[in-house]
């Protein structure tokens, strides 16, 4: 069996979706972990995003995360391109459609809408990257007051969400899409990898839900906290 045949079969394509999905999930852990540093400001009002900026600087300057970043983009690209291909191929398999849809008789709407949720996430991602990644890597950010070698990523966040309810709502919508994408995607990825044991499936399902709730809650709290001024500059 050729490798190409393996990865282009229906299960092979799923495998690619599953592996890239899990890779992106692991990225989410890093992303949410580093971003959550902004909440240190809740406990130490003098922090003013310093802890977060230090972490962000590490991510931007150390060669290990920079190297992984290339993989990350590749992972995103693969997940997105393959996702669209799988979605369109699968849709074309029906031929003539039903007059009466099955709807929720048997499956959850978000399980059937991974393509839609993924597309929303892609749109969000484009906005998100152009707002944060592009300035931090290409167009530049102001220097941090405490250390000129560090970019002040925090101020970028504060600027984005302060007095900008539209942006907060867009981000919340992005997070909601992410939540439902993860609720299905997390456990589906493991099923695709061949986990069929009932006890493990139950465990994975619980972890998946816990993970999705935690990650999305933390992400959602960021724009909200800034918008309501729970965190920000102490002045």
């Amino acid at each position: 069996m050729k490798w190409s045949a393996l990865f282009t079969s229906s299960i092979g394509k799923k495998l690619v979706m599953s592996l890239t999905g899990l890779f992106l999930i692991s990225f989410l852990v890093v992303h949410v972990g580093i971003n959550a540093c902004i909440f240190y400001d809740l406990f130490n009002t003098q922090d003013d995003g310093q802890m977060f900026n230090i972490a962000a600087h590490f991510m931007g300057s150390n060669w290990v995360p920079r190297f992984l970043e290339v993989g990350l983009f590749a992972g995103f690209l693969l997940h997105i391109v393959q996702g669209f291909m799988v979605e369109f191929q699968n849709r074309s398999r029906r031929g003539v459609g039903y007059a009466k849809q099955m709807g929720n008789k048997g499956s959850k709407w978000y399980s059937r809408s991974m393509g839609l949720l993924g597309t929303l996430l892609l749109l969000f991602l484009i906005m998100h990257i152009s707002q944060f990644w592009v300035p931090s890597r290409i167009t530049g950010l102001p220097e941090a007051s405490y250390n000129p070698e560090h970019h002040d990523m925090f101020i970028k966040m504060v600027e984005t969400f302060t007095d900008n309810p539209l942006m907060v709502i867009l981000y919340l919508l992005g997070v909601i899409s992410l939540y439902y994408h993860l609720i299905h995607g997390f456990q589906s990825a493991f099923r695709t990898l061949g986990v069929y044991n009932k006890r493990y499936l139950i465990m994975i399902r619980s972890i998946g839900i816990g993970f999705s709730v935690l990650v999305c809650l933390l992400f959602a709290l960021m724009p909200v906290s800034i918008y309501f001024g729970w965190i920000g500059y102490s002045n």
Binding site: S9, N90, A99
Partner: protein, 254 residues
């Protein structure tokens, strides 16, 4: 059970042959007993159509006791109708009440072309079995049946998967028109038994290759197939199939 009669409106897909475009026709059926089966209601309608000089509705059916897998109607947005773990032939009219409108469509999938009206061509399933859904043993060679003890739980699970009736409801319900539940039931049935072990790699690889070739979609684990399966075959089998397939795909030496 309390017995009652009902009048119903049926919207049924009519299509003369595979090349015809097809359309819905509306029929009124009267005095349908709640004790009738769904197909007996169609018999009544067909008798009327014949008496009126019209073409009766063609549909697949045979055993009418839920085991042969021939019947295949997509009733009001659900394969085999509203009951759980049920086939169309075992659906009874007490599921409906007077005045209901019921929409009946054929299975829809490119791999299941319509032959006429509600009858579709499911020979793709046979070809998938031909690709490896068996144990290669010639008649007359086996050892004594009790020479191979098999763990009861495994034997029971193999049986639960072998109970698939090949009706195609999984394909009809799947948004991707995937036949993965069907394939996984057969792969699991044989992979769970020691007799199936020697061919397990080729079986998984070849059956999936054939499934793809027939034009079924891929699985996205939505679970609709499991919900409509008349024999309640578990979607966990698809995970087992994935495991069988990947293990074979990465270790096969050819």
């Amino acid at each position: 059970m309390e017995h009652y009669n009902m009048n119903l409106t049926l919207k049924v897909w009519r299509q003369k042959n595979k090349d015809d475009r097809g359309q819905f026709e509306t029929y009124q059926v009267k005095n349908i007993s709640s004790e009738m089966s769904f197909l007996e209601m169609f018999d009544v309608l067909n008798e009327e159509l014949i008496r009126d000089g019209k073409d009766p509705i063609t549909f697949d059916h045979d055993c009418r006791e839920g085991i042969c897998g021939a019947c295949s109607m997509y009733i009001d947005g659900r394969p085999h109708g509203p009951w759980q773990a049920n086939t169309t032939c075992q659906l009874h009219m007490r599921a409906y009440k007077d005045g209901d409108t019921i929409v009946v469509e054929p299975w829809r999938a490119q791999a299941f072309p319509v032959i006429k009206d509600l009858m579709v061509d499911r020979t793709a399933f046979d070809r998938i079995i031909q690709a490896g859904g068996y144990i290669s043993i010639n008649t007359g060679n086996p050892v004594d049946a009790n020479a191979i003890p098999i763990e009861k739980d495994k034997a029971d699970l193999a049986f639960a998967n072998a109970a698939c009736i090949g009706c195609g409801a999984c394909v009809a319900s799947c948004k991707n028109s995937s036949a993965m539940l069907f394939v996984s039931a057969k792969v699991s049935h044989l992979a769970l038994l020691p007799q199936g072990d020697p061919e397990r790699k080729d079986r998984a690889l070849n059956m999936i290759a054939q499934m793809d070739k027939e034009g079924f979609g891929g699985c996205t684990n939505t679970g609709a197939c499991e919900a409509v399966c008349p024999k309640e075959i578990s979607i966990s089998n698809i995970a087992r199939l994935n495991s069988e397939y990947l293990r074979a795909g990465f270790t096969v030496d050819k």
